[in-house]
Symmetry: D3
Subunit: 243 residues, 6 copies
């Protein structure tokens, strides 16, 4: 399933008719209750014939890396990804959503960085991304070390989610509104903005500025600027070519 | 104008009689409504004879880089820079203010990372600096991808501004108070603090600590420490030499 | 005393019977009012025979570095460190606590990045760590440049502390609860989580993911996962071997 | 073809029966004379309907990135890769071979960083890897800026290749000997060595040491160490399990 | 003089009629015997009224930084810079030439990283650039710590210079040939190659590849590729537009 | 023994009467034949009661880290370290010497990165430092993956050693000459040069230049500059105060 998730995002990333992506959970109860640990413990942790710790480590590392790549496909996807979460949003819910661009929640959402409770340090992305998206390192340590459940309001307060809605339906509606707004903008501008923000997060300001200058030396040669300016003057909604 | 702005900050940076700098907007309506896009589109985007995309890219890159350098002069200025914003504070207002040290706002301030609305990814500094000064990456993505307007209260909540005042006048008064307080401290301590914080933001904790140790190996050899300690004991206000 | 502090944390880091550490201040008045500046100014700043600035700089740099190493022992300690602060928590209180994992406070806590007031840029860790643990760079600049005192509520709002309690006693009680909760988890999971979060804070997401994969290729080979899963199914509390 | 090359190396990377890989060119005349520029100029450079420079840039960037990924598969391959080059070894020959671990050459090899001669900066890897594998930055600049042809002896002198042989046959023989020698060693040790060297090349010594310690905390738990030590004492050749 | 040097290179960088730059020394005796230490010691080291070490440090740092910027203009110059050295090439000769792209020498050249002999660590660029252009760190340490004089042959052997000529005249001739060859290539390709190599030297391979892809997404849209390919087929010399 | 080695270098680093350090091997046969693998395999690899791979990994990681710290004390030592090697110089000989500043060898020296032969990737420093001190990544890969023995001439050719001498005695004599020469220079200049070169090796040129400027803002305030200049004019040997 995770391999497919990665492939889907790789496809959406290149599909010119896609301008923004919404990820939500099926059903009323949960966005995701996390990894099916029982299945995982059968698969991941007891890979049969290999008993030597060093060789088992190689297999585990390959497994973790390919799992990480699936989740990272969300971050690498050139189109913005909005996640609407509700109900139980544990473990992998945090890995998945922290690789997305904007996180929305229903007020019934219950979050947890659950991995410590099953004896492991979260390794599919949460621990690498959370300190970069939530500027409250003490809180990140707190929830990651205790695996305690926290609600939508707390997630909003610390900045993990951007808005809280009354219900899953409302959260999805909010996500669609946000996605529609983004989709109405120039895709050259939108995709460049996502890319430069992600690059800047991981580099010095100086390297961020340089990368931006090189990026925009091509991106500014778009007709979208003219189209946007003109429609601004003419007070009408511009349309932009696909990308 | 931007070249002059850069030059002014380069001069203030070295002028020993300057201890803190306040930047504010003229008039009641706006800090700045952003780049005059019409002028820009004439100048920047249609540089006449060059039609080949690769060569045009070189000219655009040089143009962006020199524009970035003007704004970066605020960050590189050795003296703290406080920005008081009011009314429309769009586009370049964010580029400018995110290169400053402390941001204050009047409650009528209306902010937006406006660039996506004119078909481009902000390239003068906003996208490189915002993820480093506001620890809420989802919010940064949200406002940068939608170009939506947000008010002073929201800016305060996410940490883009430090205080909100009733009016432009009050914000300026607040800025002057803050600047005066900073100006009353040892300039050796103040300038070192700005520099080390900016360096640390962009480097590992370990590299931050090392840089601090090397910096302070000279800076601690100041008479200001003695002066500060003595006046502390004597309950009087110290005066510190210019720098 | 600081050398001893470092040594204590180095020992606790390796002591298998220790699972979480609480640091608090003695007495009712203060966590710490900071460096005894008078003693410091005798020791640090007037090291007798050496008058040449370049050679004095070498001695100062060595001194700062070894002082930094003492404080960094808190961060490098493999076990989570919780700090409960009350009363005056000035100067070194920020250096110490920002090297810890979670910060709690009593409501009477009074904080300040005090160093600018004694003529120097904080050099034992505050300026390098604060921008990485509080995602509000304007606020960090504000308190570091003004040395102004701020209370527990403000510290909570910006994320410097995670919870505020009515009294020192309650804060300590809160710290013990948090420490006990963490101590009940798998030490393999807990120590890995602390390490990976600290590494990720200072590296790109990509380097964070890679480090996590390599780390967990060994850590997942723990019986704690089985123990945790089993006790989850059996609805009983697991016990985990020391580490 | 390049996609297939990447897939082959991804497969070899995980195939437990593979311990070392040799890459050579078919025929007597050339390792590779580089990209078929005519085909390339049809495909890459004139992608039909898209004429807007900004949108064309997006397509070019995607194309370059996926091409780079194919070549990077050689570097990411967990097993050592040895390249034996002869005759014309231009353009892509340098991209390919600089992603490998060891480069050998027949004395008739004629190398060139050819891209400048077709109007572009080499973008599949040469310019990113050459400064890291040849410690003579002036020479790297010289051959990259002039596209001049240089021979096997010059390549040996600057360290681009490790050995020069009389003929393609001899070079291949040399590659087989080297590969056989590496294949006789513990695959745990060999694969760890490749990985740690590549990581260290791109990180500080301190980050290199840390990564090594974490890596080896699992890798040292191999029976290969015992097997190697024992066979050393017993003066016989050890055999190591596949990986 | 150094300010002027920086300004000249900044101008040459943007002058479309310039395609490559040669730097050489006037007279027969020396490329440069280094800083006029007597003048320097008057200017730099005894800046009169300021006696406090901390404040003097600020002035020295500003002075060093602006001096560094002059030399860095050579590295930042978008056009390749070739240095032909002869006779005494001490101190600043190394700072200057290590910021250039290719270094040539007459056989009478006498080099030294002279700074240790006048009581200081070279601070205008040598110590930062030498470890990146000469892949022999022991040799770099040796000559930097001893300030010993070494000849053209040794410089050639370790890779500091690319070629040694019989006389200054011949070295200059060699430089002109090299410059002419580079000037005959596409300036889009040449300038991109210089930029990407300098970026890659300072970043991971992965960041190098990404930067290259973004850079070339604009640069490949040049008519120079077509021109180069066509003239290759037609066996004639292409001409390329200025840049 | 390794703990003691680290402590010795930490002491020498601060001892003002020490200006340069020579490390050599006792006896005629070997600098060091490497780790006593038998002892090591008893100690390191079979730490008794702990059998769980995850917990054993923690102990191994701690062990490796503290071993690395001992070797890194050579690199961190503020005084230059020269190594004179002869005879068998295997395994740890490379770890030790690559942490030093200059490497000399007798012609009978036989080197090997021996670790692969005992089933492990070298983890005490060789793999992290070799790619940074020898600019021939193919050769580093070759010797690290094959564990083959190579002689002094090959070490000289690739830049691992700086000079080859006829005998151990001569190598030591050469080391003493080099150390004496370095010891005759200003210790402010010498120690600054070592530090800045090591920093620059691991950072971008830009970060190297900045660090240098901050470092020298204190270091230039030494009387050694005047002393050096004066004695240069007066044609006599300067003496410099201890450090």
């Amino acid at each position: 399933m995770w391999v497919e998730l990665g492939e889907i995002f790789n496809r959406l990333s290149l599909d010119p008719s896609v301008r923004a992506i919404i990820m939500t959970g099926a059903g009323d109860k949960a966005f995701t209750a996390g990894l099916d640990v029982k299945a995982a413990s059968n698969g991941l942790l007891s890979d049969g014939p290999i008993t030597e710790p060093a060789r088992k480590a190689v297999h585990l590392r390959r497994h973790i890396t390919s799992f990480q790549d699936c989740i990272s496909a969300i971050e690498k996807c050139e189109k913005p990804v909005i996640v609407a979460m509700h109900g139980f949003s544990l473990g992998l819910a945090i890995d998945l959503s922290s690789a997305a661009d904007v996180r929305l929640a229903a007020k019934d959402a219950k979050f947890a960085v659950k991995e410590v409770d099953i004896g492991l340090a979260a390794d599919i992305g949460t621990l690498s991304r959370l300190p970069k998206i939530v500027g409250n390192f003490g809180w990140v340590k707190d929830v990651s070390l205790t695996a305690r459940i926290f609600g939508a309001e707390e997630a909003l307060r610390v900045g993990l989610v951007s808005q809280v809605f009354d219900s899953k339906g409302d959260a999805l509606k909010g996500a669609i509104e946000l996605a529609s707004l983004i989709a109405s903008k120039s895709p050259v501008a939108v995709q460049g903005t996502k890319e430069i923000l992600n690059w800047s997060r991981d580099h010095t300001v100086q390297d961020g500025l340089r990368y931006t200058a090189v990026w925009n030396s091509a991106a500014l040669q778009t007709k979208d600027v003219q189209a946007a300016l003109l429609s601004g003057i003419q007070k009408r909604k511009p349309t932009f070519e696909k990308l």
